[in-house]
């Protein structure tokens, strides 16, 4: 049973524009949410996170928004750069499970020059 869903398998954006990646979750026990970036043949790399007590967290070009009532989060990248091209995974975790990560299937982002 997929508790974290990323419904867009791929996204293509022009350099300089905004990339918006979406994620939905079903488990109301999740209290910490993360985005990971992954290149081929490498492990996922942490990008940005947000606690359930917040609705926005910003780090440079990356902003994560959390809508708890809708059980939805999104990652905004602005401006997008070709080096951002990678697979992005949304993940959610809960304290009562030792913060083990539940991942979505990923969205492959391609930023074109």
């Amino acid at each position: 049973d997929q508790q974290v869903k990323q419904n867009s398998p791929s996204l293509s954006v022009q350099e300089g524009r905004i990339s918006i990646l979406n994620c939905d979750y079903t488990n109301s026990m999740f209290d910490y949410f993360l985005w990971y970036k992954k290149y081929p043949a490498e492990g996922p790399t942490f990008l940005i996170s947000i606690s359930s007590i917040k609705d926005k967290n910003e780090d440079g070009r990356f902003t994560v928004f959390l809508n708890k009532s809708a059980k939805h989060l999104s990652l905004h990248i602005v401006p997008s750069q070709p080096g951002d091209s990678a697979v992005y995974f949304c993940a959610a975790s809960a304290r009562n499970s030792g913060y083990a990560l539940n991942f979505g299937k990923g969205t492959s982002l391609l930023v074109t020059p």
Binding site: Y32, G43, G98, Y99, F103
Partner: protein, 116 residues
């Protein structure tokens, strides 16, 4: 400093064989996680260690899978009687502490297991 390392990077085995996959976490990290990523999927949680003990093994798919962390550092994931469906990338992650709040999980590069 050294990150999480995993050996081997690739493992090809035949159906029915036994395999061991090793994870060396970041020094001092008490929490260690194993995940499995099948083609086209996100990583799927298998087991979580806090120190030497398995705090949550609810993700292990069946009793052919077993993991140990005898000294609270290196961990070994063991798969008996491998099946073709076990083919995947096995990822290990470690974090400094998972008991007092979320701490970042650092991932290794993974071991790609292929069962022929």
């Amino acid at each position: 400093g050294a990150g999480v390392s995993q050996t081997p990077s690739n493992k090809v085995t035949e159906k029915g064989k036994y395999v061991e996959l090793r994870c060396d976490p970041i020094s001092g990290h008490t929490a260690l996680y194993w995940y499995r990523q099948s083609l086209g999927q996100g990583p799927e949680f298998l087991i979580y260690f806090q120190g030497t003990g398995a705090a949550d093994d609810s993700g292990l798919p069946n009793d052919r899978f077993f993991a140990v962390r005898p000294e609270g550092s290196v961990s070994t994931l063991k798969i008996q009687r491998t099946e073709r469906g076990d083919s995947a990338v096995y990822l290990c992650a470690s974090s400094s502490d998972a008991q007092t709040g979320y701490s970042e999980q650092f991932f290794g590069p993974g071991t790609r297991l292929t069962v022929l």
